[in-house]
């Protein structure tokens, strides 16, 4: 029995280490909780790094909360409660689901902790501000841009994320409206891949079996765009253009390499730094805007390098 005592040690270490990496230190002047949608997707890492950088500049503390499981709503609700228990000065949250998060926001309201939303909107409760891209408008704009690339005629496939999520629904609405306005464009299929690259690859492989002629693939994030691209490349399908959404490093590199045609800049750093700045303004008693826009511009070969440089600088 004793021989295996070290096993416990390995297990214990494994459990504690990730905790240490996430946990904050003792509060300084103000403490803000930042709640993102998961702990692994690069996008959320950039958002957190933007928040931390701004916090450092302002001399405030940021506590990071991220569900271990992607898009785990129940875990995010517990995170809000935990932040309330810790008596943070403000809660900055990217809600996984706009409706389900309302009770948690109301709890924070009751505890007199200001709530700021970033990236995705909440459907209710008292919200100090929303920081982020208008997903619907961004998607419509990008959709029109991509349709122009195929001369507003041909066959389109939409690869969507989590069909129940608000972000997903807003983007789908924007793209579908752009498609509906082009009578010679046919939407062949709209299938889910949960914002995951591996799942998008499988979905695209299946769709290519049944659709011999595809002109445009619209993926609702860069990860899925890259997975779809891989399926297209391995199937030897030429002349299909693909768009993403997010504009993080890998997407930008794919645009520069001529694989991805375009993406929409969400400015993940801004979605981290701007709400921290806004929360600080609130602490000082200043009024803040109801909507604080980030990014929103189409990324193609003309500006991808410039954005990539920003990421590289931020990594330093």
């Amino acid at each position: 029995m004793k021989r295996f005592a070290w096993l416990w040690l390995v297990f214990a270490l494994g459990l504690i280490l990730p905790g240490l990496a996430v946990a904050g230190q003792a509060p300084k002047t103000y403490t803000f909780a930042v709640l993102v949608k998961d702990s692994t997707t690069p996008f959320w890492r950039y958002l957190i790094s933007g928040a931390k950088k701004e916090a450092k500049a302002l001399g405030v503390e940021v506590i990071e909360y991220a569900p271990l499981q992607q898009q785990n709503l129940e875990e995010q609700m517990r995170h809000v409660e935990d932040a309330i228990q810790k008596k943070v000065d403000a809660i900055i949250i990217a809600p996984i689901n706009p409706t389900a998060i309302i009770p948690a926001i109301e709890k924070a309201n009751a505890a007199k902790i200001p709530v700021l939303t970033t990236n995705s909107k909440a459907g209710g409760g008292k919200i100090a501000t929303f920081v982020g891209v208008e997903n619907y408008e961004g998607a419509k704009k990008l959709g029109e841009y991509m349709l122009k690339k195929i001369n507003r005629k041909g066959n389109v496939i939409i690869v969507e994320g989590n069909p129940a999520g608000q972000t997903n629904q807003d983007r789908v609405k924007g793209f579908r409206e752009a498609i509906a306005a082009a009578p010679e464009v046919k939407l062949l299929a709209q299938q889910p891949a949960m914002f995951r690259r591996d799942q998008a690859m499988t979905v695209m492989e299946n769709l290519l079996q049944t659709h011999p002629k595809v002109d445009l693939v619209i993926a609702l994030n860069d990860e899925m765009a890259l997975g779809s691209l891989k399926a297209l490349e391995q199937a030897g399908r030429k002349g299909v253009i693909v768009s993403g959404f997010d504009g993080a490093i890998e997407g930008l590199e794919a645009i520069l390499a001529g694989r991805l045609t375009a993406s929409l800049n969400q400015d993940p750093f801004g979605q981290g730094s701007l709400p921290v700045r806004a929360a600080m303004d609130l602490m000082k008693g200043k009024k803040i805007e109801e909507n604080i826009p980030t990014g929103g511009e189409i990324i193609d070969t003309s500006n991808a390098q410039q954005l990539l440089n920003l990421f590289k600088e931020a990594a330093k």
Binding site: L7, L17, T40, P42, R45, Q199, E250
Partner: protein, 312 residues
């Protein structure tokens, strides 16, 4: 005659019925190109699921396969990239497989030495391995592997995708291991009757440790094929595999009480799950309905299977 054969192939019949319905609904389903596509997609799940079957046969389960897949491939990925030599590539593959085996062996050791159920031990390992993968990758991805390596995922020797060939070899080997060796007898012995197996002189702790080692190995192997296909390693990869592999084994008739199940029947289970996902994409079934349809179809497949098995 029919009465003895039917129950043994009841799962196969359920799969055939499912395929029949799909080929009726869409002409694309029953084309050579789509069937190869389905087999290729099912091959990774099959490799993991036969490992899962091994642990279920010895009254255990392995919840850590998805995490072992992620950790082993992330740690090996840097050795596999195009800038490295062929030797480093081989080393990377060895590292991934060895690490998968070691992590599996740790599971097995904990199960035998601490007398814990496999569920608890591998639940811990699931988080530990995933957590280490997150820490190591820190949100980044590693891609652009050597062409010899991506061939494992995307190549087609003699027109057959490599993953299908690898999966066929793994399934045949596992089948041989389970039916023709002392180890195999020991595996079924533990499942069927623990104490009888002990008295008959079979080495139970060794069998348990080897069983979990096997599962870790298959997870790492499937992981290598997976990142070869994607040409990218990332920490969040393969989260869905835990439940899918358990599902494939269970649909294939593997018992949760141990002792009942086989490699080829698990492959039928994996095929049923893959065919379903493929069919829904082909039919463009609304995203919101897909989870429900998957669940309902699996329940129906299992009912058909049991109905045939008990009737005959």
């Amino acid at each position: 005659m029919l009465g003895t054969i039917l129950p043994r192939i009841s799962r196969l019949i359920a799969l055939v019925i499912l395929c029949g319905v799909l080929s009726f609904l869409t002409p694309t389903f029953l084309t050579a190109s789509n069937l190869i596509n389905v087999l290729r997609q099912a091959s990774l799940l099959s490799i993991i699921a036969v490992g899962m079957t091994m642990t279920m046969l010895i009254k255990g389960i392995d919840l850590s396969v998805g995490s072992i897949l992620a950790l082993t491939t992330c740690l090996a990925a840097k050795l596999l990239v195009a800038q490295n030599s062929f030797g480093e590539l081989l080393l990377g593959i060895l590292v991934a497989l060895a690490l998968g085996g070691v992590l599996g062996a740790l599971n097995g050791l904990a199960v035998t030495a601490l007398k814990l159920h496999g569920f608890l031990v591998t639940f811990g390992m699931m988080q530990v391995a995933r957590g280490l993968a997150y820490l190591y990758m820190h949100g980044s991805v590693i891609g652009g592997f050597r062409p010899e390596f991506t061939f494992l995922g995307a190549g087609r020797p003699l027109g057959i995708p490599t993953p299908i060939i690898v999966a066929a070899v793994v399934v045949l080997l596992t089948h041989g291991l389970l039916t023709n060796t002392t180890f195999g007898r020991s595996v079924y012995g533990i499942g069927a009757n623990d104490s009888a197996a002990r008295y008959s002189g079979l080495n139970l702790p060794r069998t348990t440790i080897l069983g979990y080692t096997f599962s870790g190995l298959t997870a790492a192997l499937a992981g290598l094929l997976y990142i070869a296909r994607l040409d990218t390693a990332e920490a969040q990869i393969g989260e869905a595999f835990n439940l899918q592999a358990i599902g494939a084994a269970a649909i294939g008739g593997t018992s949760f009480d141990g002792g009942v199940g086989s490699a080829w029947e698990t492959v039928i289970g994996a095929l049923i799950m893959t065919v379903l996902a493929n069919g829904m994409n082909l039919l463009n079934i609304s995203s919101l309905w897909q989870t429900f349809v998957t669940g309902a179809a699996i329940v129906v497949a299992v009912i058909i299977d049991r109905w045939i098995a008990t009737r005959s």
